[in-house]
Amino acid sequence: MDFSQIFSVSLNSLNNNKLRASLTILGVVVGIFSIIVIMTIITMLQNSIENGVSQLSKNTFQIQKFPAMMGGGPGSRAKFRNRKDITMEDFYKLEETLKGVKYIGAEQWQFGKVIKYKNLSTNPNIQIIGETTGGIQTNDWHVEFGRSINEQDVQYSANVCLIGNDVIEKLFPGIDPIGQTIKVDNYPLMVIGILEQQAQMFGSSRDSRVVLPISTFQNIYGRRSRSVNIMVMSESKENYDDVIESATGHMRTIRKVKPGEENDFDIFSNESMISQINVMTGGIKIGALVVSIIALLAAGVGIMNIMLVSVTERTKEIGIRKAVGAKRSNILTQFLIEAIVLCLIGGFVGILLGVGIGNLAGSFLNAQSAIPYDWVAIGLSLCVLVGIIFGTYPAYKASNLDPIEALRYE
């Protein structure tokens, strides 16, 4: 008796008990759904970062006062706050000494600003970014019309700026913005270039920004108001790790960190961001796994119950099968496969729902759609496992029935 035969026998009998079967698998659906939906969303977020929609361009890392993502509980922020600010002097020293660099730049940010042009103004959602020329390159920003910021602009704190598309839409309907003067916190700046549009990330536009020379930025917001972020793009993928290492060394020297002391700055790259996301989502993943295993165990008990009822109801059928030559093992596999198939059907439904709803939820975060294939495989394996664990006892009971007793059962 081959597998497909046993399989069709099993399917047939499930088909005869559709309603009961579908109620039974509900628990499996819930269990698999809960893990798949969470894994789908996490995978989508991870993919979005990995596929270069991330803040940092290729072969680029960033040095800043605060870590990119802060965990570590209360008090940790205070520890970072006590660090010295990273200054422009630090940046220039590093620029001078660091080797193997394609571009190096510094930047400072202000968020939630209103920009004015004549009597028009934007929503308070504009990012004001001070950059060195290298910073524009490490960010991989391009100027579509007009010109970019040059060394002289930075050196002489020229009152010029580049603007993103959202700003144009608000302030310059039908007007050429180049050459016009806008006001940032009452400070007049002439528009010299328009930034190329960028894809949204996590639902927020990256075109609502104004970019100006970092020196001008510091004139507006004060020289000592904030720490600067340093960005470094290595010459190649190969020397990336080396450049990170020597940048760390140079920064320690520049900032006079004593040997044996912790760095008083943070370096992060796409890789480090991804690994930090992994750390943060690890807990969520384990939680989802625990929930789904509990749901699956509950579902398994339900499946065992239904299988026991089914064995009793089908005693006569089992007797007939044995009377015409079914071995114990034939009956055992038949009922075991029924249990596994039940679980797998539940698993498939759970996966479909989980991937579907997960993608829907993820799309609100503007993450790229994804299917967590590894978790789909884990989920299906769990289903098979539950089917085997909870199907074995009923199947064993069925296979052990005495043929003549079973035949007499009414």
Binding site: G325, A326, I404
Partner: protein
């Protein structure tokens, strides 16, 4: 060597304080190619004996040797194999799978014999045609008459070409014409060398057999060879 040899077989059911001796003390020897009719009043233990011979039931005491081997020492798998390949059993109450059609019911022993789907279907159709049911193969038991169900049960017993046929009142639900046709099938099988044991209440059915064993109260009342060999029926089987 006897293919079937039972010695002092008893089957006793304990119902509360009451003891029911379905078989009290039965000894029998059957050779290959015998044609035996078992008769006796209702409740005399005929079905109990047949179940025993068919390796479905186990005796309370006594020894059963099947082709020289002690059945009580056989494994479950050995017994399953004998039931599947050596014995064709027609139950008094048919015992068909209620939810499956005639074809699938007849295919069932072939499934457990590991025969391919294609061959299974062909053989099952042939067996159903042999009992005159070629136009009822897709009917479920509840869509068949009592006599038709009985014939599905017979087709299922014959489909594996077993060397021993155990039939518990195989013509009980059939009119005398169809009954004779079924007996014609058994006669043919007997001629081919098969061993046939059947239970019947009808003298005219028993007349096909070579040997008649009469049971009463779980004991053998008489055991006679009634003629040298059976008289072949000349007319071909009319197909339903």
């Amino acid at each position: 060597m006897n293919i079937i040899k039972i010695e002092h077989i008893a089957k006793i059911y304990q119902l509360g304080t009451q003891e029911v001796k379905a078989l009290a003390d039965v000894s029998l020897k059957l050779d290959k190619n015998e044609y035996v009719a078992i008769m006796g009043p209702s409740g005399s233990g005929k079905s109990t004996l047949m179940n025993m011979l068919g390796c479905l039931d186990t005796p309370t005491s006594g020894i059963y040797e099947f082709t020289g081997k002690n059945v009580s020492e056989m494994t479950d798998n050995d017994l399953a194999k004998i039931r599947n390949q050596e014995i064709g059993f027609v139950f008094q109450t048919f015992n068909l799978l209620a939810r499956s059609n005639a074809l699938h019911n007849v295919e069932l022993p072939l499934i457990y014999a590991g025969i391919s789907a294609q061959e299974r279907k062909e053989r099952a159709e042939k067996a159903l045609a042999d009992v005159g049911l070629e136009d009822r193969i897709h009917h479920k038991p509840n869509e068949l008459s009592g006599g038709q169900r009985q014939r599905v049960a017979i087709a299922r017993a014959l489909v594996t070409n077993p060397s021993i046929i155990l039939a518990d009142e195989p013509t009980g639900n059939l009119d005398s014409k169809t009954g004779e046709e079924i007996m014609g099938l058994f006669n043919e099988l007997h001629e081919k060398g098969n061993t046939i044991i059947l239970v019947t209440h009808e003298e005219y059915i028993a007349e096909h057999a070579v040997r008649i064993i009469r049971l009463r109260d779980g004991l053998v009342e008489s055991d006679d060879v009634v003629r040298k060999r059976y008289i072949p029926i000349k007319n071909n089987l009319a197909k339903n």
